[in-house]
């Protein structure tokens, strides 16, 4: 199956050397009394073409706000508090006007949301909603765009695209709706796909199908995927690299096999230990990390994880550790890491 070509930002040859997406010091500090809420607190990472980076963390760790900041989808007043650099294919997104940004959204970068029911317009047919980005960005007429919508639905594995295209979202199952959301997101073959908890609202069996679909589409379209989830199991099977977020920061980033073989940050290691494993012989209590994630307004001066960390020293409480290379391709922000 092939999809008609869509214009890309820069010729692939020119961008091949560097990263497709480069995020530098992304911040979202919301002014508040007595301290600002540091929802996203200096996030930096890179993502290459055809690569999947898993961004994992608990609720409130700033994953979704990071994604929305990259897409520039935050609404005022929040949108005014975003700082940092986000470059897509060499284009600095943060300095674009809203109009220039809307020319890229849906074409060069697009997003799949967590809740496919509420994220689709209930009074518009699925086909029209998928056709919209093609009409907006590729200048297709209504008939061509409708044909493309059906083509996209077929691409995401929907057997009878004509019927689904003519349906309203409430008539479709959760999995079908999420497939439709993905069809909409890839309608213009974006270079970057941001998937925010794309399977959280779905049944387990459907989850696996949707994740497999994302992988297939990545091979087909060559897109980079930023896969946001709280579920490490999802990351293990579907991402090339993983970045663990805690309290608005990335605490450890490594290739998936490296991290799963031996996470060095105490928080990342705690997360891995809390995954239930089928090979354990008898039922036992899952280990849990004591305490809760500090709210964005109550982050301690030092390492945000220190109050919950068994290895914390005086330095951990006093000074926040920077995110540094621990090994090639392995970044770590910890004063007292486990051995690699």
């Amino acid at each position: 199956m092939t999809v008609a070509g869509a214009p890309v930002l820069v010729e692939p040859a020119a961008a091949a050397q560097g990263a497709l997406l480069s995020v530098r010091g992304l911040q979202l500090h919301i002014p508040s009394s007595p301290r600002p809420l540091r929802a996203v607190d200096g996030v930096s990472f890179e993502l290459r073409r055809g690569e999947t980076l898993g961004l994992v963390g608990e609720s409130g760790s700033g994953k979704t706000l990071t994604a929305l900041s990259i897409m520039r989808l935050l609404e005022p007043p929040l949108s005014g508090f975003v700082r940092g650099e986000v470059a897509l294919d060499g284009v600095e997104l943060m300095s674009l006007s809203e109009r220039e940004m809307s020319d890229l959204r849906g074409r060069a970068l697009s997003m799949v949301f967590q809740e496919p029911m509420t994220s689709l317009n209930p009074v518009m047919t699925v086909g029209r909603q998928i056709a919209e980005p093609a009409m907006r960005h590729l200048g297709l007429g209504a008939a061509e765009a409708a044909a493309r919508a059906q083509e996209m639905l077929r691409l995401v594995g929907i057997p009878d695209p004509a019927r689904v295209a003519a349906s309203h979202p409430h008539l479709l199952s959760g999995g079908m709706r999420q497939r439709a959301m993905i069809a909409m997101a890839i309608a213009c073959r974006p270079a970057l796909l941001v998937a925010d908890e794309p399977t959280t609202a779905l049944d387990v069996t459907v989850q696996a199908q949707i994740l497999e679909l994302l992988g297939d589409l990545q091979r087909e379209l060559g897109s980079a995927i930023l896969l946001i989830t709280h579920d490490l199991a999802v990351i293990a099977e579907n991402a090339h690299r993983v970045a663990v977020m805690y309290a608005g920061r990335i605490v450890e980033e490594a290739p998936v096999d490296v991290l799963f073989a031996g996470a060095r940050h105490p928080y990342a290691r705690g997360l891995l230990a809390s995954i239930p494993r089928i090979e354990r012989s008898r039922p036992e209590m899952l280990p849990e990390i004591p305490g809760v994630v500090p709210g964005p307004g109550e982050r301690p001066a030092g390492c945000a994880f220190a109050p919950r960390c068994a290895r914390a020293t005086a330095r951990c409480h006093a000074e926040a550790p920077p995110l540094l290379d621990a090994a090639p391709g392995h970044r770590l922000a910890c004063w007292e890491p486990f051995d690699g």
Binding site: M71, L73, S102, D103, L104, R105, G106, R107, S110, M111, F113, E115, T118, S119, L120, N121, P122, V123, M124, E132, P133, R136, H137, H168, H170, M181, M184, A185
Partner: protein, 317 residues
């Protein structure tokens, strides 16, 4: 669809019977009666009043009176006025065009302007415009209509002498369109002011609700322009509560505006109601009540059908 319509029309019958019983009962509980005027007239003797009572059937028990009247309503004979003996339905229907003209123009202006204010307020929430529109609507809703009416007459009819103060036509110019329009301006604006205030509030909250939905963020993520997001995505979703409101307001097209029509001497239904009330013209009052009740039912039925057309999740069954 046909089954739905039939069922709704059948449901309307007990509703209309209920309205008629309550209305009829209230009329009879009210002090004084249609013959009370005669008791003040020295030339009319007590036996004359008795004779009129028998003539009108007012000597019979209440339930007999009701039964006679109700059968008439359902068979198209809405009775005759006490004064003049004219058929009630005819008296009501001859007032409909004037009321529809006044209410139709006021409602159209109010809906268009109210929607525009509401949409602007919702998209620019807490802006200077939004704050002004919100407080303006509150002021317009707080002052009574008669005050606005009297002020309009004082300023535009008496001081500036731009427009006539009341009626539908100048004497001797009956049928002239220019004269009619000149007379229409003040009552229309006064009515539109108050209705615009309500509509702007409803439109604002309906659009705010729609704009905060997840699918509006999806529309932004697709790169759609603000205009496309508003018209294609927000509008159909915000329209539902507004269509319901329209269904509720449809009866006013026929029942008219009591205060504005009285102040501006507009010969419509509202004025007929006030006149009939002061003259204790029970047949007209009862007739108008039934007339309005029918349009309340029709208005809601139309709104339900329209909402089902907008939102495929609503099924007419």
């Amino acid at each position: 669809m046909i089954g739905f319509l039939l069922r709704r029309l059948l449901q309307a019958i007990p509703l209309l019977v209920g309205v008629s019983v309550i209305g009829f009962g209230l009329m009879h509980l009210a002090p004084g009666g249609p013959l009370a005027v005669y008791t003040l007239n020295p030339t009319i003797q007590a036996q004359d009043i008795e004779r009129i009572k028998v003539l009108f059937g007012l000597d019979q028990p209440v339930h007999v009176q009701y039964a006679k009247w109700a059968t008439g309503i359902f068979s198209g004979n809405w009775g005759y006025t006490f004064f003049g003996g004219r058929p009630v339905l005819g008296v009501i229907l001859e007032r409909v065009p004037a009321t529809m003209l006044l209410m139709g123009s006021a409602l159209s202006i109010a809906i268009v302007v109210g929607l525009a204010i509401g949409v602007l307020g919702a998209t620019r929430r807490y802006s200077v415009f939004d704050v002004l529109a919100t407080s303006g609507a509150l002021v317009a809703l707080s002052f009574p209509t008669f005050w606005f009416g009297l002020m309009a007459i004082y300023v535009f009819a008496i001081e500036l002498r731009w427009l006539p103060s009341g009626g539908m036509w100048e004497l001797g110019e009956e049928g002239s369109v220019v004269s009619l329009l000149r007379h229409l301006v003040l009552p229309t604006l006064v009515l539109a002011l108050v209705i615009t205030a309500t509509w702007s509030r409803y439109a604002r909250s309906a659009f705010l609700e729609a704009l905060q939905q997840d699918f509006m963020r999806t529309a932004r993520a697709k790169g759609l322009s603000p205009r496309a997001r508003l018209l294609r995505h927000a509008f159909p979703n915000a329209a539902k509560p507004l269509v319901a409101l329209l269904g509720v307001e449809l009866p006013f097209l026929f029942s008219g505006a009591l205060v504005a029509e009285t102040i501006f001497a507009w010969p419509g239904m509202g004025r007929l109601f006030v006149d009939a009330l002061t003259m204790k013209e029970y047949p007209i009052l009862m007739g108008m009540m039934m007339f309005t009740a029918i349009f309340v039912i029709v208005g809601n039925l139309l709104a339900d059908i329209a909402i089902a057309a907008i939102d495929p999740r609503v099924r007419l069954s």
